[in-house]
């Protein structure tokens, strides 16, 4: 790719040259015409001057050939011939060609005599015809010297302009070069903001956008780094527990050995759960399809989620179904609907106070299924509500991996659901809305 400077210089320089050439051609043509005009006028003036001189002389020897053309004081490159109306040559200047110049009519005329081009002017004055003439060749020589004299300054000006153009474009592009150099000097993985002093207004937004981009990339990288760190932590912790207890089991015997083995198994279970959740999250956030063609209505979703969350102890969750709930299937893969609700229930069970039940209320309004999960825990402080759905965020000593609500959020985003948290002193209420199929006609059938 050609450099911007070269490209600009070539384009502008080309346009410059073209315009200057056209202007110069126009000027020179004009000049040439003016020059020919004045030369013609000089011919005419000379002829009239000769006529005037002849009047003054009042020559007695009119019939003779004694008129001395030199006395007619015609300037030397110009030829002059005086003839009678009958065509008899009365006088001629010494540089006049031998063949007669004289034309029959008055006025300007171009003619070729002895291979030379002449421009002549004939004036009929009384009894005589006076003809003055210029060699075309001399006119051409004069024209060329005028052309030369006029075109040298034009050429110098043109070259000067091109040089100035090259220099000014270079100067104008200097900020771009500074920016390029600043970018070049950077480390490939450096995300520090660029600092290029003295940038013109046009480039400021570019620099600003660039720096904002760097900043966003840095933030993304930092978030990913933290996420990997958190994931590593969540996987290493149960792994550590497993390994430690297995080693204890090797060192000990009897009851403490059995206890260590039981603990190791508990660690393995925890690791299994965390891995499953991480995988589910990755799949929900990815583009994999979950659609297995199974249609599931809202009540069935609720019952299956309760079954999964309760681990056999379904007494701990109270299901309240409002009358006339729609039997339309949910407008999303059933497995995701169940997973989302199940994670909400898991979370509620984990945080509800001892000996209290988690309530799940289901109603369908205007083509949407509303699942309201309510626990009897301590609730969440207002500022933490936003962090609830962050990956790996959890309150103090919570035993979860901090992935459950992140999974719910990912499903909500993927399947056009909505999620709302309302924390009060007597517990957290979470409302999950799912679209139902055929939502235009919320049926009660």
């Amino acid at each position: 790719m050609m450099s911007l400077r070269l490209r600009l210089s070539l384009t502008l320089g080309g346009a410059f040259i073209l315009i200057w050439i056209l202007a110069a051609a126009w000027m020179l043509l004009d000049l040439r015409m003016q020059m020919m005009d004045s030369l013609d006028q000089r011919l005419a003036a000379s002829a009239r001057m000769v006529a005037g001189l002849m009047d003054q002389m009042e020559m007695p020897e009119q019939q003779g050939s004694g008129i001395n053309a030199e006395r007619l004081a015609v300037s030397s490159p110009m030829a002059c011939e005086v003839s009678s109306l009958r065509g008899e040559i009365l006088a001629r200047s010494h540089n006049t060609p031998q063949s007669p110049l004289t034309a029959d009519e008055s006025g300007y005329r171009d003619q070729v005599i002895n291979g030379e081009s002449w421009r002549s002017f004939t004036l009929t004055h009384g009894e005589v015809r006076i003809t003055t003439a210029d060699r075309q060749q001399e006119r051409d020589v004069l024209g060329r010297s005028v052309l030369l004299a006029a075109s040298v300054p034009v050429l110098v000006a043109l070259l000067g302009s091109l040089a100035v153009l090259w220099f000014v474009i270079g100067q104008g592009l200097a900020p771009l070069n500074r920016m390029r150099d600043a970018l070049k000097r950077r480390n490939a993985d450096s995300l520090e903001p660029l600092d290029v002093p003295g940038l013109p207004n046009e480039l400021q937004p570019l620099l600003k956008t660039q720096n904002q981009l760097f900043q966003r990339i840095a933030q993304t990288l930092e978030r990913e780094r933290r996420l990997t760190g958190d994931a590593a932590h969540e996987l290493r912790s149960p792994l550590t527990a497993i390994k430690t207890h297995l080693q204890v089991a090797q060192m000990t015997e009897g009851a403490s050995r059995d206890k260590a083995l039981a603990h190791a198994e508990e660690g393995a279970d925890r690791m299994h759960r965390t891995l499953e959740q991480l995988l589910l999250l990755a799949r929900v956030e990815g583009s994999l399809s979950f659609d297995d063609g199974v249609l599931c209505d809202a009540e069935k979703v609720a019952r299956l989620a309760i079954h999964d969350a309760a681990h056999g102890n379904e007494q701990c969750i109270e299901l309240i179904i409002t009358p006339q709930v729609s039997t339309a299937p949910v407008e999303m893969p059933a497995v995701l609907a169940i997973a989302a609700l199940r994670n909400l229930l898991d979370n509620a069970l984990r945080h509800t106070a001892a000996n209290t039940r988690v309530q799940l209320t289901l109603q369908t309004v205007a083509g949407q299924a509303h699942f309201l999960v309510r626990d009897h825990g301590a609730g969440i402080p207002e500022p933490d509500l936003d962090k609830l759905t962050q990956r790996f965020w959890r309150t103090g000593t919570s035993p979860g991996a901090g992935l459950g609500l992140a999974i719910v959020q990912a499903i909500v985003l993927r399947c056009a659901c909505s999620l709302r948290f309302d924390s009060q002193s007597d517990g957290l209420r979470v409302e999950l809305q799912m679209p139902l199929q055929g939502s235009s006609s919320p049926g009660t059938a």
């Binding site: 932590h233 290493r236 912790s237 390994k243 080693q247 204890v248 403490s256 925890r270």
Partner: protein
């Protein structure tokens, strides 16, 4: 040797406690930084194992605070954070060692012994006192080359006395070294252990400093000397 373990993950903590206990170390467990502070104020510890992700505050903050207070207790950081920055931050905050999860219990135990040994200014693991030698990591005591069978309380007591070479230690200090914070200790238990040690290693091994406590007796070069 008395270890303070600061770890909030129950499952990992119980494993470490059981493992270090099996290696003859006395371990007290706390799950929060505030509990760790209270524990450090209440009893003497030889070394601390610190997890960084504590629920109430960051382990590094606790560590910096301890160092500012001039507490020189050796600290080993035990964490799943594995980046170089994390390690450097940990060491700069005043940690003496850094161990990544998951780890090997034997390595943890060996590193703890090394930290204590360095603290005492020794470069080899085996502590020698005349013809009596004790290896804290294998918990093996030898008298003139012959192995002596000691109970774990006796081992801990001997280690504490050897570790504090020649310094007088009060009964309370010795109990801190031998028993965990939650252990039930009978009033004359320490005397019983001292009696047993004297019987197995010779009467001169522990000197009673009346009104103050106990200290290691003068080094003997044969069993006769110690048996005086």
């Amino acid at each position: 040797m008395h270890v303070l373990l600061c770890e909030d993950d129950d499952l990992i903590a119980s494993g470490i406690v059981a493992g270090l206990d099996a290696q003859g170390l006395t371990v007290d467990l706390v799950a929060t930084a505030s509990a760790a502070r209270a524990m450090l104020a209440a009893a003497h510890f030889d070394v601390m194992v610190l997890d960084l992700g504590l629920p109430d505050e960051d382990g590094l903050k606790l560590l910096r605070q301890l160092r500012q207070q001039g507490i020189e207790l050796p600290v080993l950081i035990l964490t799943a954070r594995d980046t170089v920055t994390d390690r450097v931050d940990g060491l700069q905050a005043g940690a003496d060692d850094y161990l990544l999860k998951p780890f090997d219990l034997r390595e943890l135990s060996a590193r703890l012994h090394t930290l204590i040994r360095r603290m005492a200014g020794r470069s080899v693991n085996v502590i020698a006192h005349g013809c009596l030698t004790y290896d804290p990591s294998s918990r093996e005591a030898r008298l003139a080359g012959q192995p002596v069978d000691l109970s774990r309380r006796e081992q801990a007591l001997l280690h504490a006395l050897l570790h504090n070479h020649g310094r007088v230690m009060s009964g309370e200090q010795l109990k801190d070294c031998v028993y965990g914070f939650g252990d039930e200790v009978e009033s004359n238990a320490l005397n019983v252990h001292i009696h047993h040690l004297r019987r197995k290693l010779g009467g001169g091994v522990i000197e009673t400093v009346r009104g103050l406590g106990y200290r290691l007796g003068p080094a003997g070069h044969d069993t006769e000397n110690l048996a005086q």
